[in-house]
C-alpha cells in the first residue's frame, strides 16, 4: 500500500509538473495580454509531433532541443498575424479565435499523423527502472522532473534577472506606463507569447516520451492547466506552479481510493478555493477584475 501511495504521489508530481509547465505559459500570455490561449494544448501536441518527426533525423536530444523552438516560432507567427489584431478588444474575440485555432490544430495533427496514438522512442538507458523496489522510478521520469525544474528555474531567472523579464513583469502591472517609457509593447507581447508557446512545446515533447502521442493530448492537459491557474492564484506565476503540482498530486492520490473521481477532485479543489479564497492560493488582491 505504501508503495502504491508513493507511486501515485510521484506520478502526481510528474503530471503536476506538466500541468504547471503548460499553465505557466498560459499564465504568461494571460497576464500580459489578457488573452486566454485556448490553442495552448494544440501547440503542446504539435510540439510533441514535431519532435516525433525530427527524431529520425536529429536523434532524441536534437529533437528535444529543436521541437520547442520550432513550436515557439509558429507561435510567433500566430501572434503576429492573428492574435495581435484583437488586443484591446473584448476578450471574447481572442478567446473565440484561439478556440477556432484549437479545433484546427487538433484536426490538422490528426490528418498528418493519424488519429491513432503513436509511440515515442526514448533512449533505452532512460527507459529502464532505477531500482527494482520502486519499479516506477525510471530514468526518464527522473529526467523529466529535472528538466521541468530546469525550465521553470530558467523562466523565473528570465523574469527576475533580465531586461526582457523585467519588462514583462512591469507590463503585467501597467502596460500603458511601460509603453510610455519607450518600450516597444508590440514586440514585448510577441516575445512573451513566444516564450509561453516554447514552454508548451517543451511540455509536449516531454509528454510524448511519457505517454505517447495522440491528437487529443493537448485537450486532456488544458483543462487541468486552467484549474491550476485558478487554484494557484490569478496573476501569480509561483501560484500557478503550486496549483499545477497540487492538483496533479491530488488527482493521482484519488486514483488510489476512488478512481472514478480522478478528474472531479480538481474541480472540487477549485470550488473550495473559489469559496474560501476567490483570488486563489497565492493570488494578489484586486486582480480578479
Amino acid at each position: 500500500m505504501t508503495q502504491l501511495i508513493l507511486f501515485n504521489v510521484f506520478n502526481g508530481l510528474i503530471v503536476g509538473a506538466f500541468y504547471a509547465l503548460m499553465a505557466l505559459g498560459l499564465s504568461l500570455i494571460l497576464n500580459l495580454s489578457g488573452v486566454i490561449n485556448f490553442a495552448h494544448g494544440g501547440f503542446l501536441a504539435l510540439g510533441g509531433y514535431i519532435a516525433y518527426t525530427l527524431i529520425p533525423f536529429v536523434g532524441f536530444w536534437g529533437a528535444l532541443l529543436l521541437a520547442p523552438v520550432l513550436t515557439a516560432t509558429l507561435g510567433l507567427f500566430v501572434e503576429r498575424l492573428l492574435i495581435r489584431r484583437l488586443y484591446g478588444r473584448d476578450p471574447l474575440y481572442s478567446l473565440l479565435l484561439t478556440f477556432g485555432l484549437a479545433l484546427i490544430f487538433e484536426d490538422v495533427t490528426r490528418a498528418i499523423w493519424g488519429a491513432q496514438s503513436v509511440p515515442y522512442q526514448i533512449p533505452g538507458w532512460l527507459a529502464t527502472p532505477l531500482s527494482t523496489d520502486f519499479f516506477f522510478l525510471t530514468g526518464y521520469r527522473l529526467f523529466m522532473v529535472v528538466l521541468v525544474v530546469a525550465a521553470v528555474g530558467g523562466l523565473f531567472y528570465i523574469l527576475s534577472r533580465t531586461r526582457l523579464g523585467m519588462r514583462i513583469r512591469a507590463g503585467t502591472l501597467d502596460l500603458d506606463t511601460v509603453s510610455v517609457l519607450g518600450v516597444n509593447v508590440r514586440v514585448l507581447r510577441t516575445l512573451n507569447f513566444g516564450l509561453g508557446i516554447y514552454l508548451a512545446g517543451l511540455a509536449g515533447v516531454l509528454a510524448a516520451g511519457q505517454q505517447g502521442l495522440s491528437p487529443t493530448l493537448g485537450l486532456t492537459l488544458i483543462m487541468p492547466s486552467f484549474v491550476a491557474i485558478i487554484v494557484g492564484g490569478l496573476g501569480s506565476l509561483p501560484g500557478t506552479l503550486l496549483g499545477g503540482v497540487l492538483i496533479g498530486v491530488a488527482s493521482n492520490l484519488t486514483t488510489v481510493y476512488f478512481p472514478s473521481a480522478t478528474e472531479a477532485v480538481m474541480y472540487v479543489m477549485m470550488g473550495l478555493v473559489l469559496l474560501i479564497r476567490p483570488r486563489g492560493l497565492l493570488g494578489e488582491e484586486g486582480r480578479m477584475h
Binding site: G34, D90, L95, L96, L103, D107, L219, Y267, M270, L274
Partner: protein
C-alpha cells in the same frame, strides 16, 4: 417606416418563418429534424446571449447546463418514469440547480477570469458523464430510451412517430421560453442588467446589488440552455457526452456572435447559419473540424458584429 413598426414587422416575419419551417425546409434541401435542431440550438444560443449580450458577462461553459438538461431528461425517462413532460422538468431542474451552485461561486469574478472559471467548470460534468459508465453510458452516451407521446387527457400528440409533431412541440416550448425572455428583458430587471453591462461601477453606485443580478442572470440563462439541452436529447433520443464538452460551449458563443450579440434575434440567425453549415460541411469532408475552426477565425476577424449588427449599422447610416 417607423422604428416600432419595423420591429413588429420583423418579429412577425420571424414567427411566420418558424411556423412554416417544416413546409419550406424540404424545398431548400433540408429535412424536418434539421429544422428542429435549428430551433433547439437557437434557444440555447439565445439563452446564452441573455448573459453574454444583455448582461455583458462572458461565459464559455454553457454546454455543462445544456448537457445536464440532456442527461436529466434521458435518465428520467430511462430509469424513473416514461414521461416526456416529467423528463423535461427534471432536466431543467438539474441544470438550473447546478447553475445556482456554480453561479454562487463565480459571481465575484469578471472578464477573462470569469470566462476561464466557466470553461473549467464547464468540463466537470463531462468528466462525470464520461467516468460514471454504469449510469450514463460513459463515452458511448445514454441510449436505450425514447421520447414518449404526449398525453393531454383528451388527445395524444405522437411526437415520437412524427417528426413534424415534435417540431411543433419544440417550437411551442421555444415560443414560451422566448416570450419569457423578452418580457424579462423589457422589465426593470432586464433594464438593470443592461445598466450593469454598460457601466458596472455606476450601477453599483446607484445601489444596485450587482452580484445578485449577475447571479440571477446566469441562472436564468442556464435555465433556458438546459431546456434546450433537454429538447436536444429528446430530438435525438440520445444524450451525448459531447453535448457537455468544451467545444459545444464554443459553438453556442459563436452562434451568438455570428448572429449579433446585441440584438434579440441575432443568435437565432447565428444558430441557423451554424447548423446548416455544420450539416453541409460534415457531410462533405472528413476534416470538417478544420472548417469549423477556420469559420471561427474568419468570423472573429472580419465579422465581429454579426449579421444583425451589420444590418443595423447599414440601417443607421
Amino acid at each position: 417606416m417607423s422604428d416600432l413598426l419595423r420591429k413588429q414587422a420583423s418579429t412577425a416575419l420571424v414567427w411566420i418563418l418558424l411556423l412554416t419551417m417544416p413546409y419550406w425546409m424540404p424545398i431548400l434541401g433540408g429535412y424536418t429534424a434539421l429544422s428542429s435542431r435549428m430551433i433547439v440550438l437557437a434557444l440555447a444560443a439565445m439563452g446564452l446571449n441573455f448573459l453574454l449580450g444583455f448582461t455583458g458577462v462572458l461565459s464559455f461553459g454553457h454546454a455543462a447546463y445544456f448537457g445536464l438538461g440532456a442527461y436529466g431528461v434521458g435518465l428520467t425517462i430511462k430509469y424513473l418514469v416514461p414521461s416526456t413532460a416529467l423528463g423535461i422538468v427534471a432536466g431543467v431542474l438539474i441544470g438550473t440547480v447546478a447553475a445556482m451552485a456554480i453561479g454562487a461561486l463565480i459571481v465575484k469574478l469578471r472578464g477573462v477570469y470569469f470566462a476561464m472559471v466557466t470553461i473549467a467548470f464547464g468540463q466537470v460534468f463531462y468528466f462525470i458523464a464520461f467516468r460514471w459508465n454504469s449510469v450514463t453510458g460513459g463515452d458511448d452516451g445514454l441510449s436505450g430510451w425514447k421520447r414518449q407521446p404526449l398525453d393531454f387527457g383528451v388527445a395524444t400528440l405522437d411526437i415520437l412517430g412524427s417528426d413534424k409533431a415534435f417540431y411543433y412541440f419544440a417550437l411551442a416550448l421555444f415560443a414560451v421560453a422566448i416570450a419569457i425572455m423578452g418580457l424579462l428583458l423589457r422589465s426593470p430587471f432586464g433594464r438593470t442588467l443592461l445598466a450593469i453591462r454598460e457601466n458596472e461601477r455606476r450601477a453599483r453606485f446607484l445601489g444596485i446589488p450587482v452580484e445578485r443580478h449577475i447571479w440571477l442572470s446566469f441562472v436564468i440563462s442556464c435555465m433556458f440552455v438546459s431546456l434546450s439541452g433537454a429538447l436536444y436529447a429528446l430530438l435525438n433520443n440520445f444524450a451525448d457526452p459531447r453535448a457537455l464538452r468544451w467545444d459545444q460551449s464554443g459553438d453556442f458563443v459563436i452562434m451568438a456572435v455570428l448572429g449579433g450579440m446585441r440584438s434579440f434575434w441575432g443568435p437565432l440567425i447565428g444558430a441557423a447559419i451554424f447548423v446548416v453549415l455544420q450539416d453541409q460541411v460534415s457531410s462533405m469532408t472528413e476534416n470538417w473540424q478544420s472548417f469549423i475552426g477556420l469559420f471561427f477565425v474568419l468570423v472573429v476577424l472580419f465579422f465581429p458584429r454579426g449579421v444583425l449588427g451589420i444590418v443595423r449599422r447599414k440601417a443607421a447610416a
